[in-house]
Symmetry: C2
Subunit: 232 residues, 2 copies
DNA sequence: TAGCAATCGGATTGCCCTATCCATTTTCGG
DNA sequence: CCGAAAATGGATAGGGCAATCCGATTGCTA
C-alpha cells in the first residue's frame, strides 16, 4: 500500500469527492443568484443559505470571497467577451460598437454583482482577469474599427468604457428595481455623445494606472476601505 | 414652584446648555469632515471620534443618523440651490445650464457624502428636503430657459439630472482618490449629449414616482436593504 | 461490507456597527 | 458659592459579518 505514493501532480488537485463537487456547484449557483440580486457585498452567509450548505463549506471551497466571485462570474465575463466578438462581426462598426455598449450595460443592469465586477479588479482571480484582458483587447479593436469609419469621435479612449461602466453601475445601483430601465436613457445619451463629430473637447482621460488603482481600491462597495485610521 | 408651568412652546426646545450647543457644533463639523471623506455610510462612532465626544452624545443630539446627515448637509444643499440661482442669472441660458451641471457634479466629487445625499431622499429631514425641492423648482426653470434658446435638446427631462447625479456618484465613488478628475470627462460627455440638436431619440425617462422610490430605497449604500428574506 | 479519510456544518471567536443605560461631570440660577 | 438639573461618555446590549474549530456524517475503496 503506497498510500501516499508519490505526489502525482498530474491532475492538479481535482480528485474532489462526489458530494464535494456537487456542493461546489450548488454554491456557485447560489452565488450567481444572490450576487445578481444583492451585488457583491452580499454576505457569504446568505450564499450559504441559498445553497443549503453550511458557512464552513463555502469557506472551504473558496477561502476568500474573491475566489467565489471569480468562480461565479468567470462565465459572465465570457459572455462579455462574446458580446465584443459579436460586435466585431457587425458589418457596421459603429452600429456594432453602440450595440455592444448597450448589451454590456444591460448585463450590468441584469446582474448587480456583475455590475460591480466590471468596475473592480480581482488580482488573485487569474482566470477572470484573463478573460477581462482578452475582452479589453477586443474592445480596443472595436473602438479602432469604429473610429476608422469616422462615426466614433477620435478622442474616445478605451478607459472611457470603464468610466461608462462605473457610471452605469451608479445608475443601476441607485435605481434598482424601482426604475429598472432608467439606465437605458443614460446609456443612450452617452452613446450619442460618443458619436462623431465631437461637439467639443474633453478633459483628458484618467491615467491608465490611476484607473487601475481605482478599480483595485473600493470598486463598487465591496471592500469597505478599512477606515483611514486617524493619526491622532 | 410651578415646575411644569405651562408648556410654553414659544421658543420650541431651544434652551440648550452652552456645552451642549458647543458639542452640537463640533459634531456637525466632524460629520462634515467624515462624511465628505467616507460617504454617508461612515459610522457614527467615527464621527464621534472626530468630534472628540462620546458616541452617546451624538445619539442624543441626533437620535437617527438621518438627522445628523440632514444637519450636516442642509447647508450644502443651500450651496446647491445657490448654484442654480447663479446659473439662472447667466446671460447665456445654455452656458448657465452647462456650468451648473459641472458645478453640481464638482460638489459631488468634492464631498462623497453629498454625492450620496443628491441621490437619496430623507423624508424625515424636512429642512433638507425643502431646500432640495426649492432647488428642483429652480432647476426646472433653468432647463426651460435653456430649451427656449434651442441649445438644450427638447426631450431633456428634469429627472435626467437625478440620473446624471446617480451616474456621477458611481464614477466618483469608484474612482475616489485614485482618479479624482475622471468624473469631469464623463460629465463633459453627458453635457455634450444634452446639447441640441438631439442625435437620436431616447428611451422614456423613468416615472417620477419610480425615481422617487429609488431614491428612497438604497440610494447610495446608506441603507443596506435588510436582506430580502427568502420565502423558503 | 467495513473502515478510513475526506467532507460537512453548527457553534464559536473576533470585529464593527447602532443604540441604550447609568454613574460621573458640568453648567447655571439663586 | 452651592445644589439641582442637564449633559456627558464609557460600558453594554443586540445584530451582522468573516473566519475558524471540531464533533458528526458521508463517500470511497479495499
Amino acid at each position: 500500500m503506497n498510500p501516499g505514493a508519490q505526489p502525482s501532480d498530474d491532475a492538479a488537485v481535482q480528485p474532489l469527492r462526489s458530494d464535494a463537487e456537487r456542493n461546489r456547484e450548488r454554491i456557485i449557483a447560489a452565488g450567481r443568484t444572490v450576487f445578481r440580486r444583492d451585488g457583491l457585498n452580499a454576505s457569504m452567509a446568505s450564499v450559504a443559505r441559498g445553497a443549503g450548505v453550511g458557512i464552513a463549506t463555502i469557506l472551504r471551497h473558496f477561502p476568500a470571497k474573491d475566489e467565489l466571485v471569480a468562480a461565479v462570474f468567470t462565465d459572465r465575463m465570457d459572455a462579455y467577451a462574446d458580446a465584443v466578438a459579436v460586435a466585431l462581426e457587425d458589418p457596421d462598426p459603429w452600429q456594432g460598437f453602440a450595440a455592444f455598449i448597450e448589451t454590456a450595460c444591460a448585463m450590468q443592469a441584469a446582474d448587480h454583482g456583475f455590475a460591480d465586477v466590471l468596475t473592480t479588479t480581482f488580482p488573485s482571480a487569474k482566470a477572470l482577469e484573463q478573460r477581462r484582458n482578452e475582452a479589453c483587447e477586443a474592445v480596443v479593436q472595436l473602438i479602432d474599427r469604429a473610429k476608422a469609419t469616422g462615426r466614433l469621435r477620435e478622442d474616445f479612449a478605451p478607459s472611457d468604457l470603464v468610466l461608462l461602466h462605473m457610471a452605469n453601475a451608479g445608475v443601476v445601483g441607485a435605481t434598482g428595481e424601482a426604475a429598472p430601465d432608467a439606465w437605458r436613457r443614460v446609456v443612450a445619451l452617452l452613446i450619442q455623445s460618443f458619436e462623431a463629430p465631437a461637439r467639443g473637447p474633453l478633459p483628458a482621460p484618467p491615467e491608465h494606472a490611476a484607473l487601475y488603482k481605482a478599480m483595485h481600491r473600493a470598486g463598487p462597495a465591496g471592500i469597505p476601505a478599512p477606515e483611514p485610521r486617524k493619526s491622532t
